[in-house]
């Protein structure tokens, strides 16, 4: 077998051997890493012959071998632009995947949020049960690559009945630092969020980058909610124009728990997100909101999967895309209602606006239903703005271009409004505005 491994996969084997001494974790972690690496090498990079990768060609990821991004330090000034100054929050800043305590603000947070690396290094850790436990076979090869190389991440753990007073802002900054000309870096982050019974938290995952070089950001966020826990999670992706990102979120929900996820993709050259939610106990509820606004040559692929494995669960899904330039958007929403998951209530909407003749959108809202007493509906639309609405605005004195812009903005804003956290919402709105034509004129109208 060894002879058949491609040079590229061979590179990752060698890279693992090189960096393994600096990777955190006790022996059991090393074992998991080695097993994951083996799975990755056996499976190789996903190909678009696989149904879930049909519209996403991973060749951009295979063009060059990536090396694990080295440790790097940034000053407060470097990250200033990415902070949410008006937001009263806890902050953990990760540079190239590693926690930078100097930039973080974790006073009073105690053991609630720690670096995953330090947790993994503890001799006896509850992580042994938790790490990689939410994937349930729904991960892909790049999630295995992540497990093998994960350097750090946030480990958020709320005790039973603990209600966090402020949101936690997790800022992940990728920076080229000092690197050779021909090197390309990968950042491997793994987050684990575990909420105890009746606990409540808000977590902002914010992915940004510095510099002009291409890099590969591969992250996995695992979420486990105990009975009656509530989690609001916002993922804002503002990577640089050459960045490639593969992100996976795996959530397992306990009885009567509530998970609300907002995902906003603004940056990145090639982006793939997998969101997998398992409704494992009665009464669990999940809301997935997603917004993607690619332009130029950007590629954004959103894959979601919701497993209704228990009766009386609720799922709501709303994804919207605005595509300009020669960009491509992919949405695949899969809802599986397992046998005996009676009284399931599920709704899914996906909508896309194409602003350019070169943009493309591929949407597939899937339903797989094995129970009869269920309410499932999905809707998908692709289209342009309502001509009558444009006419209305024109009759109120706006020129056609401004009317279009305003309507495009409001198409997305409906989702942004739901984010709720004011400073974050403002930031997303600014990011959206910057991507629309005639931003200044639009700004005046708002």
């Amino acid at each position: 077998m060894a002879a058949q491994i491609s040079p590229l996969l061979d590179h990752y084997l060698a890279e693992f051997a090189r960096v393994q001494p600096q990777l955190p974790g006790a022996d059991w972690v090393t074992e998991q890493r080695q097993a994951a690496l083996k799975r990755f090498v056996e499976a190789g990079f996903p190909s678009n012959r696989m149904e879930t990768w049909k519209y996403s060609d991973t060749r951009p990821l295979q063009k060059q071998p990536f090396e694990l991004a080295p440790e790097s330090t940034l000053s407060q000034a470097d990250v200033e632009a990415f902070l949410l100054p008006e937001l009263d929050c806890y902050r953990l800043v990760f540079v190239n995947g590693r926690l930078d305590p100097a930039l973080s603000e974790v006073v009073d947070l105690g053991e609630t949020a720690v670096s995953l690396a330090s947790a993994l290094n503890e001799p006896l850790t509850s992580l042994q049960k938790g790490l990689n436990s939410t994937l349930n076979g729904h991960g892909h090869a790049l999630s295995d690559l992540n497990l093998a190389f994960a350097v750090d991440g946030a480990h958020i753990r709320l005790a039973d009945n603990q209600v966090l007073d402020k949101p936690i802002h997790l800022l992940f900054v990728a920076t080229p630092g000092e690197k050779a000309e021909d090197e390309a870096h990968m950042v491997q982050v793994r987050n684990l969020i575990e909420l105890g019974k009746n606990s409540e938290a808000t977590v902002i995952e914010h992915y940004v980058g510095l510099g002009e070089d291409a890099y590969f950001n591969d992250f996995v966020t695992e979420i486990r909610l105990a009975d009656n826990a509530r989690l609001k999670r916002c993922r804002l992706q503002e990577e640089t124009g050459k960045a490639m990102q593969v992100g996976a979120t795996h959530a397992v929900l306990g009885r009567d728990s509530h998970f609300h996820s907002h995902a906003v993709d603004l940056g990145g050259r090639w982006v793939r997100n997998d969101t997998v939610v398992g409704l494992q106990a009665e009464g669990a509820e999940v809301h997935l909101d997603g917004l993607y606004v690619p332009t130029g040559r950007q590629h954004v692929d959103n894959q979601t999967r919701i497993d209704h494995a228990s009766p009386h669960c609720i799922s709501r899904e709303d994804y919207k895309g605005i595509l300009d330039g020669g960009s491509r958007g992919v949405f695949n929403g899969k809802i599986i209602v397992h046998k005996d998951a009676q009284k399931t209530d599920s709704e899914q909407h996906s909508a896309a606006l194409l602003l350019s003749g070169k943009a493309e959108v591929d949407a597939k809202p899937e339903l797989e239903i094995y129970a009869d007493d269920v309410k499932c509906a999905h809707g998908a639309t692709v289209g342009q703005l309502d001509e009558q609405a444009i006419f209305y605005l024109q009759s109120r004195g706006l020129d056609a271009a401004a009317a279009r812009n305003l309507l495009t903005y409001s198409f997305a804003d409906e989702l942004i409004q739901r984010v709720g956290i004011e400073p974050l919402r403002k930031r997303i709105e600014r990011g959206l505005l910057a991507r629309l034509p005639n931003a200044e004129q639009l700004q005046e109208l708002l």
Partner: protein, 492 residues
């Protein structure tokens, strides 16, 4: 109580009412597939050299292909060498000239199928059409050879060619050569390639320029003779400004071994032409354990080649153990229209993976998809559709609605709608719902003295109404009856 449950049991166990075997001395070739078998079929049909070449090319390609595994269906692997690829009723080789010449057993079969006597006579070409009877021309495919074709003269007067494809190969080779395989190429997919290599018979329809076909055209397909896969090939060509409505209905005798059915249907519509293709499919679905039953792996595709042309597929799928079928429209002509209306019902262990593809290539093209799936017993059912808007298809419009109705907690209903949009002026809508028959709806009917089974039938028929109204009158009635029969034993 005891008698009631006995009655119920009898009802549930009621056997497939069209299940019977006609013993004919079939001229059957030994099971197996190789070049010799293809040469045998070709020679038997007195085909020209080019068609044999075409078949062999398809066979060569088929050998390099893999059986597709992506459909949401499960079945034991098929041994393609265990199937006999040719079977013809012996007495038909000369072609019947009057009713007396038609094999009496064949007529018996028609009778059991409920084809009225006068229709049988016309079927055998004995009598001309009776003025008061519905204008339906029937081309009966009994096993693999078309036995008789009716209404030929009336159609001939209009300039319409309606005959078996073997006859068309002999009588109108230039037309067949021009269009055969242009919509579904021999290399299209595994089953289409297999069909191209070994197809035995099917229908050929040609509607010349500006002609409105004076009657509905119809084919009754029947699979007979054990272990004979039936590979029909249907080709319908509608020239500029013409109009045709074509009906296809099927029923097959009860069998214990799975029978493979891999048909190919090609439709070509030129400028302003309209083709309406309706199917009622009621092949043997297997017993309640899923034993026996037909494998229905069909490739159907219509090509709206001309501007403002229209192709409409309507299907009612109640039979077969496994259905794998995606009647599609390639909307090439500017302003062309594609429509797909479907009712699919799975009961017991039936599985269906069906849907459509709408490929928008021309400008201002429109498509409508209405799919109704009913799943009962342990049936599994999937809608799989693709709506693709290519970059030049300005102002394309699509509306898709796929609803599923679940009866019982052992069944499954799935939806896999693909949309690929490469043009910003496209307008697509997709809606899907899944529900069950409401307790209150049933209660309302029961309170008015309607039995539970009748109530379910009523509700199901209402659910399917949007599709049934697209069927020609005679078929709509038959389809409603079929649903009722197929749902027997699903409730209670």
């Amino acid at each position: 109580m005891a008698t009631q449950s006995q009655e119920l049991e009898q009802l549930v166990k009621r056997e497939y009412s069209a299940g019977f075997v006609t013993d004919l001395e079939a001229d059957t070739v030994e099971p197996g597939l190789n070049e010799d078998v293809i040469r045998f079929i070709s020679a038997k049909k007195e085909e020209p050299e080019w068609l044999l070449e075409w078949r062999l090319k398809a066979f060569e390609h088929w050998k390099t292909m893999k059986e597709p595994g992506w459909a949401h269906v499960h079945y034991p692997p098929i041994d393609y060498q265990a199937i006999s690829y040719y079977s013809a009723p012996k007495s038909a080789s000369d072609g019947p000239k009057s009713l007396d010449e038609v094999d009496p057993k064949l007529l018996e079969t028609y009778e059991k199928l409920g084809i009225p006597l006068h229709e049988q006579e016309i079927l055998a070409g004995v009598k001309q059409g009776i003025p008061n009877m519905p204008n339906v021309a029937v081309d009966a495919v009994f096993d693999s050879v078309s036995v008789a074709t009716t209404f030929k003269d009336r159609l001939a007067d209009a300039g319409v060619i309606f005959c078996s494809i073997s006859e068309a190969v002999r009588e109108h080779p230039e037309l067949v050569k021009q269009y055969l395989g242009t919509v579904v190429p021999t290399s299209d997919n595994f089953y289409a390639a297999l069909n191209s290599a070994v197809f035995t018979d099917g229908s050929f329809v040609f509607i010349p320029k500006g002609v409105r076909c004076p009657m509905e055209l119809s084919t009754y397909f029947r699979i007979n003779a054990q272990n004979t896969g039936q590979f029909e090939r249907t080709l319908i060509v509608a020239e500029e400004g013409s109009h045709v409505s074509y009906l296809e209905g099927c029923t097959a005798p009860q069998r214990d071994e799975n029978q493979l059915h891999a048909a190919v249907v090609e439709l070509v519509a030129l400028d302003d032409a309209q083709i309406k293709y309706s199917t009622v499919q009621n092949w043997y679905p297997g017993d309640e354990e899923g034993k026996g039953g037909i494998y229905n792996f069909v490739t159907k595709r219509g090509d709206c080649r001309g501007a403002r042309s229209k192709i409409c597929w309507t299907q009612v799928e109640t039979g077969s153990a496994i259905t794998w079928k995606y009647p599609s429209c390639v909307l090439q002509g500017d302003g062309s229209v594609g429509e797909f209306y479907s009712v699919a019902l799975t009961n017991n262990l039936q599985q269906a993976d069906t849907g459509t593809k709408m490929i928008h290539i021309g400008k201002n093209t429109r498509s409508t998809i209405i799919s109704k799936g009913i799943s009962a017993g342990r049936g599994e059912q999937a809608y799989r559709g693709l709506v693709k808007i290519l970059p030049d298809a300005d102002n394309a419009r699509n509306y898709t609605q796929c609803d599923s109705l679940l009866i019982g907690d052992q069944c499954g209903a799935h939806t896999f709608p693909y949309t690929e949009v490469k043009n910003p002026s496209a307008h697509l809508e997709h809606e899907a719902t899944t529900s069950k028959i409401g307790e209150d709806q049933l209660f309302y009917c029961r309170a008015r003295g309607i039995s539970e089974e009748d109530a379910v039938n009523m509700i199901v028929n209402g659910f399917c109404k949007e599709v049934f109204k697209e069927l020609p009158m005679e078929f709509a009635v038959e389809a409603q009856k079929l649903l009722g029969v197929s749902l027997e034993g699903a409730v209670g």
